[in-house]
């Protein structure tokens, strides 16, 4: 193991800021974002004046924009932009921040996601998948046909996986149960009541084969991480979490006959980190659906194509399993902060801050981000060790 890549281990996540997450009302997305950045600065031991880069990502509610710098009070940024690769954005932000810091274009870059789509008394599904999005043209027939929001597309692709490989409903349920078991030990997680397979099967159908418990939460809140050079991170308040690998891959539409975007992205990130899938000791997967965990496990090379379901059902993802995964409860049971959910949990675990959910082996943590209908992907390899 070892990397010759010039970017690997050169930068680190030096600060993490998380707000209250979930059904938290009375604050705007901008309020949450400001709080997350301020908390991340305090966590790192950085003064606001030392922050010279800001990358931001607005969620479903599109509640933050470039005016965030004014709201925080950052008068002299040397790097700033708003990014959107949907679920892949957070991983991309850390990757771009690592590149910028390595190249000397900025010293400390805050990457922040914020969203506040939930309003009191309204169901999360309505906030997420309403479908009346002002479409025009041929695609304007889709909501009436039944395709409103991303859930139907993912559900259908899950059914295809079941048809082709024999993946079962129980195996999708195993992902939901594993996430819930982890969430029960995360005080910030939204869904902390016990869940068994009967409870999973009893949860309402959304689009078969997805029950509501196959679909992620919708959450209000914000998470920020700060990327700094490895050298400066070592002088800051908290242990650095090194960026050992970072990559993206994109594709036009799901196609079983070519290497998937997640395969390409993970291979590139693992190559940068100088590691193989078997070296990964902990995994934080973008779990917009149980099914995306199944396919990501396959695409990242932790098991073969078609074996993600049995792998999940084997207990591999749980405490003491071969590959502890989504140890904060993920987005299925924890909180839906797009790609910042898996990144923040990787940072917490790498620092040893996991409390009741802390795992032993944090040497190499794979972090995924998935956006669109399997259109946009980012992979990070994070570690408490520089090399």
């Amino acid at each position: 193991m070892g990397s010759n890549h010039s970017l690997s281990g050169r930068t680190a996540i030096s600060g993490l800021g998380m707000t209250e997450l979930g059904r938290v009302y009375g604050r705007t997305a901008t309020d949450f974002a400001v709080e997350a950045v301020v908390r991340a600065l305090a966590d790192a031991g950085l003064a606001k004046s030392e922050l010279d880069g800001l990358l931001l990502n607005a969620g479903i509610s599109q509640g933050i924009d470039l005016s965030l710098a004014q709201a925080i009070g950052l008068p002299a940024l040397s790097l700033q932009t708003q990014m959107n690769g949907f679920g892949s954005t957070a991983g991309q932000m850390v990757g771009y921040a690592a590149m910028a810091v390595s190249a000397g274009l900025a010293k400390h870059v805050a990457c922040v996601f914020a969203d506040a789509p939930l309003v009191p008394g309204e169901r999360a599904g309505r906030a997420y998948g309403g479908g009346r999005t002002g479409r025009r043209g041929m695609s304007s027939i889709l909501p009436a046909l039944g395709f409103a929001g991303p859930i139907p597309y993912y559900a259908l692709l899950a059914q295809r996986h079941m048809d082709l490989y024999g993946t079962t409903q129980d195996q999708l349920g195993a992902v939901a149960l594993s996430s819930r078991a982890w969430a029960r030990r995360n005080p910030l997680a939204t869904m902390r009541e016990p869940l068994d397979l009967a409870g999973y099967h009893a949860s309402p159908w959304i689009t078969e084969p997805f029950h509501v418990l196959d679909c992620c939460l919708v959450s209000n809140g914000a998470i920020c991480v700060i990327v700094s050079s490895a050298e400066s991170a070592r002088d800051l308040a908290r242990p650095p979490v090194y960026v050992r690998g970072a990559a993206q891959a994109h594709q036009l539409e799901w196609d079983d006959t070519v290497p998937s975007l997640a395969q390409r992205s993970s291979r590139a990130a693992f190559e940068m980190a100088g590691c193989a899938p078997s070296d990964i000791t902990l995994c934080q997967i973008y779990d917009c659906y149980t099914f995306t965990v199944v396919t990501t496990l396959e695409d990242y090379g932790f098991c073969k194509r078609g074996e993600g379901g049995p792998f999940a059902a084997s207990g591999a993802l749980a405490e003491g399993g071969a590959l502890p995964t989504n140890t904060g409860g993920g987005m299925l049971s924890g909180y839906y902060m797009w790609g910042m959910t898996p990144i923040s949990e990787a940072v917490i675990q790498a620092r040893g801050d996991g409390g009741a959910r802390q795992v032993d082996r944090t040497d190499l943590i794979a972090v995924s981000g998935n956006g669109g209908i399997f259109n946009y992907h980012a992979t990070l390899v994070l570690s408490p060790h520089a090399r």
Binding site: G131, M138, S140, A148, L157, D163, L164
Partner: protein, 138 residues
């Protein structure tokens, strides 16, 4: 509820040929006049050769089930009393993927790979939309 607006299709300039063909019960698709690639959704340039000689042609209306599932919950009023609907991603023989559903009354038991053929149904507002039935045995 104030939000009870239906998800009514909105024809735009580029999609007029699609909706006009649908009125005649024909599935129309764009095809690149230079390289023959079929384009869906509507494009201004060929996504294969970047050519601009785009024409509308009558599609075969036939394809196979790439993926399928059953819509069980919807927030749209036009789906009230009609669920579940069997949704399909159809890989048309023209090699484009088309999101639709099975026709009303069609037996819901489909499998990935099953052959389908287009038929047209009207939405609540009268817009004809392409949906699919099992291809008649030949």
């Amino acid at each position: 509820m104030a939000e009870d607006a239906r998800a009514t299709p909105a024809v735009d300039e580029r999609s007029v040929p699609f909706f006009e063909a649908a009125e005649r019960g024909v599935l129309a698709l764009q095809r690149c006049g230079d390289c023959g690639t079929f384009l869906h959704p509507v494009r201004g340039r060929c996504t294969s050769c970047a050519g601009t000689a785009i024409e509308w042609v009558e599609a075969s209306g036939r394809g196979h089930v790439f993926a399928h599932g059953r819509l069980r919950r919807s927030y749209l009023p036009e789906h009230e009393g009609k669920l579940p609907l069997t949704l399909v991603l159809v890989e048309l023989d023209e090699r484009v993927r088309f999101a639709s559903r099975l026709a009303m009354g069609e037996d819901a038991a489909v499998r990935t790979g099953d052959r389908l053929a287009v038929v047209f149904e009207r939405l609540d507002d009268g817009t004809p939309v392409p949906v699919f039935r099992r291809e008649a045995a030949r």
